[in-house]
């Protein structure tokens, strides 16, 4: 199966941009003062690939142009290949614009060629690529079918096989328009006039000659950069671009059958150091939606000082992640997962220290008899303090005047902590303060309110 990206030069540069606005404006990628690729809006205005830039400007004065960036195209093609690795392990790059997948072994898993194609097309659109897809019995046949957009090899225009310019001119001169016509020419003559290569490719497409291909190997680490065509300061626009990278990350993780506990998103600015956003999660995850939710909270909270020109997503520390099996016995597991997700969302927006669990600690000093555990931590089976303890503890204790309270019960002496330099010597009483019952103590410095019996 072949994925062909006729507008790769443009998609590679524009996919960081929210799709509606990119679709409405005419854009073109320019190479050597002539239009290489243009988008639908530009074509509607009469701009055609191959036309001179001056002619294009005359037709569409609002045309926005980008210089061609071959490095970005290569990166984009590799990103597609990496993403496609989740459908088959045999992915091969066909520069400059295509990726070939050997899907015969995967058809059953994905429910047939038609469904697989629909899935590929939808997924690529989510990533921001417009693709032509075709399936064929051989890699080269699929590639030509994708490029030419026909049903059979015979009917394909001769341009689909991308011949040398001289060969193409010669073919046109002798009246060969389709591949079928080329196949009817005598082999010896074709080899003599158009070179052995053309004949060999034809044989490969028809399956008469083998075509060994080098398969794409997914990288060990995930690190992808996406350029934002217009610098973005709004969280929503950064998030849109980040989602495309997250989708790639999800595919990368799916290939490795792994999840991650967190990733780093760097927002690169024109000047100054990049803004670094670390997103973490208690349990390993792969799901794009999950990460996107966490990222949304963080991006909305973090006000960007200057617009981001590009974003870079890096993830390391893969953890094996089995496909989640639905709980067999009711929803307790589901409840726990929902809880974890909720905690992570709260922590992502409010900060890790704000959301915590409670645990007791065997310690006489009241302010140390508890500690903030990780959210939802467990209690130690510690011995209980001897006296009554209030449900509210004031942090720090509040100084009290002599007439602010009426003593009701006490004292309970707590004298501890000489070993760590934070020693306390206090007599605790229960006192009435207005309508409330208070837990107060007397120390050398005076009276303090330390708790309320709520």
């Amino acid at each position: 199966m072949a994925l062909c990206f006729p507008r790769l030069s443009l998609d590679a540069r524009l996919r960081g941009r929210a799709s509606p606005e990119a679709a409405d404006e005419p854009w073109a990628v320019v190479e050597n003062r002539s239009v290489r690729v243009c988008n639908g809006a530009a074509e509607a205005l009469g701009v055609r690939p191959g036309s001179a830039l001056t002619a294009a400007w005359a037709l569409a004065p609002q045309l926005r142009i980008l210089p061609r960036d071959t490095a970005a195209e290569t990166t984009a093609l590799e990103a597609v290949a990496l993403w496609a690795c989740q459908f088959t392990s045999k992915v091969s790059l066909e520069p400059p614009q295509s990726v070939l997948l050997e899907v015969e072994g995967s058809l059953r898993l994905f429910g047939g060629a038609v469904r697989l194609m629909a899935r590929l097309r939808g997924g690529l659109a989510d990533l921001g690529f417009g693709a032509l897809l075709a399936a064929g019995p051989t890699a080269r046949a699929a590639l030509w079918l994708a490029r030419g957009g026909g049903e059979t090899l015979q009917a394909l225009p001769i341009t689909a096989i991308d011949p040398e310019p001289q060969a193409l001119a010669l073919l046109r001169r002798i009246g060969v328009r389709t591949l079928g016509e080329l196949m009817h020419l005598p082999r010896a003559g074709v080899a003599a006039r158009f070179g052995e290569e053309l004949l060999r490719n034809l044989d490969r497409a028809l399956g008469r000659a083998p075509e060994p291909r080098v398969f794409f190997e997914p990288p060990e680490r995930f690190s992808m950069q996406l350029e934002l065509p217009a610098p973005a300061i709004e969280a929503e626009r950064v998030l849109f671009a980040a989602r495309r990278l997250l989708l790639q990350l999800e595919a990368f993780l799916a290939v490795r059958q792994a999840g991650i506990r967190g990733f780093t998103l760097r927002l690169l600015h024109r000047e100054g150091r990049p803004t670094r956003i670390d997103i973490g999660s208690g349990t390993p995850h792969r799901d794009t939606e999950h990460w996107q939710r966490l990222l949304r909270e963080r991006l909305e909270a973090a006000a960007l000082a200057s617009p981001a020109e590009a974003i870079r997503l890096e993830a390391a520390g893969l953890t094996p992640l089995a496909r989640a099996a639905p709980g067999l016995f009711g929803d307790e597991r589901g409840g726990a997962e929902a809880w974890e997700r909720l905690t992570e969302r709260l922590q992502a927006r409010l900060g890790g220290a704000v959301v915590h669990g409670l645990a007791t600690h065997a310690e006489h000093r009241p302010e140390r008899a508890w500690h903030a555990d990780a959210a939802g931590g467990s209690a130690g089976a510690d011995e209980m303090p001897p006296g009554p303890r209030p449900l509210w503890l004031l942090e720090p204790p509040r100084h009290l005047g002599e007439g602010d309270f009426v003593l009701l019960a006490g004292p309970e002496r707590i004298e501890s902590g000489w070993w760590d330099g934070d020693d306390v010597a206090r007599d605790y009483f229960i006192a009435a303060r207005g309508a409330s019952l208070a837990w107060i103590y007397r120390a050398r410095e005076g009276w303090f309110l330390h708790g309320l019996f709520a």
């Binding site: 927006r349 959301v355 915590h356 669990g357 931590g377 449900l391 509210w392 019960a409």
Partner: protein, 234 residues
């Protein structure tokens, strides 16, 4: 002209007539509060789940937590999550354990900003992962309360919103509103809004206090013997 009682009964049975004396039966089950006297007066027989409940108290430290702790303890033992949102002080772990709560099902969200607190409340309620949410949100406007009430209805948690007593004068979309005032060693609970008939007199709910009440005043130590009568620091 007097209407025959039998005819009236027939009318009442034939049409879906709601009688003022009945308490509403909420569709979501309630969590028994652990105070029999209170349960009898709460619609559904306890703290209603999926409903915003307002608890207005004159000040902190009058036993407002003791009123809800039995229900929370039962929930935590049933492995139900309990979230504390923006509590005015630190919920003290040793006292919570003493009240019978399982700490591993408790989460505290400490004093975030006002907007964050409202956001967090909505998240917790709508996620449906919590069985109880205790919130302290001062100066909550009607619109915000409305959002909270809707979020509570979308979830399954008992949503307890603690507010100061003067808020009783403001109108609120919460279907259940209680005002608490200390009365000796007991808590006077006035249910001034519920789905059902008004409750005329406040309920007197005995709650555990660290000192016993004698004749309306709080007196007499409840300390263990060995702790008492030690010399104080100078």
């Amino acid at each position: 002209m007097p209407i025959p009682t039998a005819a009236l009964e027939a009318v009442l049975h034939r049409y879906p007539v709601w009688r003022g004396g009945c308490l509403a039966q909420p569709p979501v089950r309630a969590v028994p509060s652990g105070h029999a006297r209170l349960d009898r007066e709460l619609p559904g027989g306890g703290w209603p789940a999926g409903t915003l409940t307002e608890i207005l108290c004159a000040s902190h430290g009058i036993g407002e937590l003791q009123l809800v702790l039995p229900a929370l303890a039962a929930l935590s033992h049933a492995k139900g999550r309990i979230a504390w949102l923006a509590p005015p002080h630190l919920p003290y772990a040793p006292a919570l354990v003493a009240a019978g709560l399982r700490l591993d099902f408790l989460t505290v969200v400490r004093a975030p900003g006002r907007r964050d607190a409202l956001w967090a409340a909505e998240q917790v309620l709508r996620a449906g992962a919590c069985r109880a949410l205790l919130m302290w949100l001062p100066r909550t406007g009607y619109g915000e309360l409305r959002r909270l009430a809707l979020a509570a209805e979308a979830g399954v948690a008992i949503a307890l919103l603690f507010r100061p007593l003067p808020a009783a004068r403001e109108s609120s979309p919460a279907p259940l509103r209680l005002a608490l005032e200390p009365e000796g060693g007991q808590l006077a609970v006035r249910i001034f809004k519920r789905r059902g008939a008004q409750l005329a007199a406040p309920l007197r709910i005995p709650i555990p206090r660290p000192v016993h009440a004698v004749g309306g005043a709080l007196l007499s130590p409840a300390f263990p013997r060995r702790q008492a009568a030690r010399p104080c620091l100078a």
